[in-house]
């Protein structure tokens, strides 16, 4: 047999082999990688679980509110609690978040009042009116644009000499195909910007499966071309997501530049509540497979084993969060209506003749 001087097949397979998924807890909550177990106190472990339960309840209630017509656009989050909440748990208050539209739980964990999240969903400007110390940008709709903006934000943090501060941004497996994602990680590499890029690979864009986004074996390997550390983590394992994100943050804060993280996760429900039916593109086996890997199951098992968690505590918590969410929905009902004349004033800090003329016109109309 002739010698094969250039083995392209071997070459392409070698890329994916570089990225074995980091896991600490298996699906049943057993430690499989002792050396990576994070140094979290018992209180912190419980707090992390409480936040994940919060997120699941928020999801359940949001689905119900959507059905009642009390929310606008809503992107379900069930299944992604470890990916979202545990990555956020590695952040500090001063860090900036550039979220995608499914990343509402991280915004709430960072300090966004729930009623404001609901106002954003309903399409009210107050949903994007933040306190000065809430370092977030409204959820991005153009699924890769947050990557280049987060990069710019991090370049700014670095130039301003903010030493213990990073930017984190989230996209999905669908978003990872956007040109802005490549441009963002590449610019961040060139500027050594302190930014953590997360690709939450939840298996599907709306209906398009991960396999149809790219032939690349992993999404993590997309960071290789930018010359930055890239890592794939079990996105259903809160300890692994926390550990990897914390390490990425430490790396960025130390002045080494960006990190790309791919979380292998899953969305249990539809893409959004605007008519998506996942049974059109997913088999029952797929739902079953992922529901067995529910991050809440494994973390509950882990904490119960450690005698840190009880069923009663979880039930009490669920009830409390349900009330909190209901109160937030009521609070969102109380907000003042918007007016066109006000919205004209949001356009420019220093408006031209067209805006001034139109403010007068609409103010006259509104005062009738």
């Amino acid at each position: 047999m002739a010698k094969k001087p250039l083995d392209f097949d071997k070459l392409v397979k070698s890329y994916g082999e570089l990225f074995s998924m980091v896991q600490i807890l298996d699906k049943d909550g057993k430690i499989v990688n002792k050396s990576l177990v994070p140094e979290l106190s018992d209180e912190e472990l419980v707090e992390l679980m409480e936040r994940m339960v919060f997120s699941r309840v928020l999801h359940d209630r949001s689905m119900a509110l959507s059905r009642q017509g009390r929310l606008g656009f809503y992107a379900p989050t069930a299944g992604q609690e470890a990916s979202q909440i545990a990555s956020h748990y590695a952040l500090e208050k001063q860090d900036w978040i550039y979220p995608g539209y499914r990343d509402i739980p991280q915004l709430i964990m960072h300090g966004l009042p729930i009623y404001k999240a609901f106002l954003w969903s309903r399409g009210h400007v107050e949903g994007n009116h933040y306190d000065d110390d809430l370092h977030v940008i409204p959820p991005q709709i153009i699924i890769g644009a947050q990557y280049i903006q987060a990069m710019g934000n991090a370049v700014g943090q670095k130039l301003a000499g903010k030493e213990n501060e990073i930017t984190i941004t989230y996209t999905g497996d669908g978003g990872s195909s956007q040109g802005d994602v490549y441009e963002g990680i590449n610019f961040a590499s060139r500027y050594k910007a302190p930014v953590v890029f997360v690709i939450q690979n939840n298996g599907y864009a709306i209906s398009t499966p991960r396999e149809k986004q790219t032939a690349a074996e992993t999404l993590a390997q997309k960071g290789v071309a930018a010359g930055i550390p890239s890592i794939q983590v079990d996105g259903m394992d809160p300890l692994a997501v926390y550990t990897v994100t914390k390490a990425a943050r430490d790396w960025a804060v130390a002045g080494n530049g960006p990190v790309l993280i791919e979380t292998i996760t899953n969305r249990f429900g539809p893409h959004s509540t605007s008519g998506d039916d996942p049974t059109r593109y997913r088999s029952q086996e797929s739902f079953d497979y992922w529901e067995q890997r529910d991050p809440l199951i494994r973390f509950r098992n882990y904490l119960t084993e450690k005698e840190l968690w009880t069923e009663e505590h979880e039930e009490e918590l669920i009830e409390k969060v349900q009330e909190e969410v209901l109160a937030a929905a009521k609070e969102a009902d109380q907000v003042e209506k918007m007016s066109v004349s006000d919205s004209l004033k949001w356009m420019y800090s220093n408006p031209g003749q067209n805006i001034q003329e139109q403010i007068e016109k609409y103010e006259a109309k509104e005062s009738k």
């Binding site: 280049i148 710019g152 590449n186 356009m347 800090s349 031209g352």
Partner: protein
């Protein structure tokens, strides 16, 4: 103190003086550092202010726009260069989809003091897809300001105002104007108000409204027609979004005749918008239909066809005469 400067030097000076005054001003783009930009608009700035404040970006326009967005959130005043405005399609989402909308999205609680500078316009025989008059695309986007200087004095004052303005400004520099002539420019800083047109030449018979390089051609036509006892008023828009209708209306009420001149194709630019507005606002003052001088509705042409394609002083002269004789 004044000095004789061409437009590109006036732009460099505006950048330099504002960077010196305000350390939040950052300049970045493709080849703007050591090389000073392909047109040398950022000449000397890298040497003076260093790598952090004057940086060469990787060659990806969308991310240049995204970087401007993020830097604004962090309190900087980014002045990004898009190397040629023909490349603007690569950064459309950042500029028109994101930066322009952010203040509105946040209910007026976040300013985006971004300046996007870019060389545009034709007549200098660039390779294809470099030259174009795409200001109309920007002018149709709510949330942006679009500024186009026609001479060195205006370029310095308008750019200084643009950098200090808290709203996003697309600042378009006509390539043919960069080095075509020098004029007196004050050494000290000054601002020219955005959103205000300039009466570049007073006249009483016909109003010509133009912007960018076409202001030069309109002035040539006006001078030519003075010999024929036709008094032409030339209005330089300076800002094509938002437009200063007050100045145009006052002139049209005086002359009763208007010619709009743009280098862009007839379906592009801002001519259609201005003509429509003036028709609504000043119809009873008009003694003749508004005339519209523009390039034809083809793609920006091959280099060897540019001079046939671009509107000229002769075209403007003809249009003015027809309007005056109507």
């Amino acid at each position: 103190m004044t000095q004789q400067l061409n437009m590109v030097s006036a732009i460099t000076q505006a950048l330099d003086q504002e960077m010196e005054k305000n350390e939040k001003v950052l300049v970045f783009g493709e080849d703007v550092g050591v090389n000073g930009g392909v047109f040398r608009a950022t000449e000397g700035l890298h040497e003076k202010y260093g790598d952090e404040r004057v940086s060469d970006t990787p060659l990806a326009e969308s991310a240049i726009g995204g970087m401007a967005f993020g830097l604004s959130v962090q309190g900087f005043r980014p002045v990004a260069e898009i190397q040629f405005f023909g490349f603007v399609f690569e950064v459309m989402d950042s500029v028109v989809g994101q930066i322009s909308r952010q203040r509105f999205r946040m209910g007026g609680h976040l300013d985006m003091p971004v300046v996007i500078r870019s060389p545009f316009g034709g007549g200098v025989r660039t390779p294809e897809m470099h030259a174009d008059s795409l200001e109309g695309l920007m002018a149709q986007a709510p949330g942006l300001k679009v500024v186009i200087p026609s001479n060195p004095y205006d370029a310095k004052g308008l750019l200084t105002a643009a950098i200090r303005d808290n709203d996003p400004v697309v600042f378009l520099e006509h390539m043919k104007l960069y080095r075509s002539f020098r004029e007196e420019v004050p050494e000290e800083q000054y601002e020219i108000e955005l959103g205000k047109a300039n009466v570049a030449r007073e006249g009483s018979d016909v109003t010509v409204v133009a912007y960018g390089y076409m202001v030069r051609e309109a002035l040539k036509a006006a001078e030519e027609l003075e010999k024929e006892d036709l008094s032409v008023e030339v209005i330089d828009l300076r800002t094509v979004s938002p437009i200063d209708y007050e100045t145009i209306v006052a002139s049209v009420e005086k002359t009763g005749r208007m010619v709009f001149v743009q280098e862009a194709q007839r379906q592009a630019g801002v001519g259609n918008t201005v003509i429509s507005e003036i028709s609504q606002r000043s119809i009873l003052s008009l003694k003749a239909p508004i005339s519209f001088v523009s390039a034809p509705d083809t793609v920006f042409p091959f280099a060897q066809m540019e001079n046939l394609w671009l509107p000229s002083a002769a075209d403007i002269t003809e249009a003015i005469k027809e309007t005056a004789d109507f």
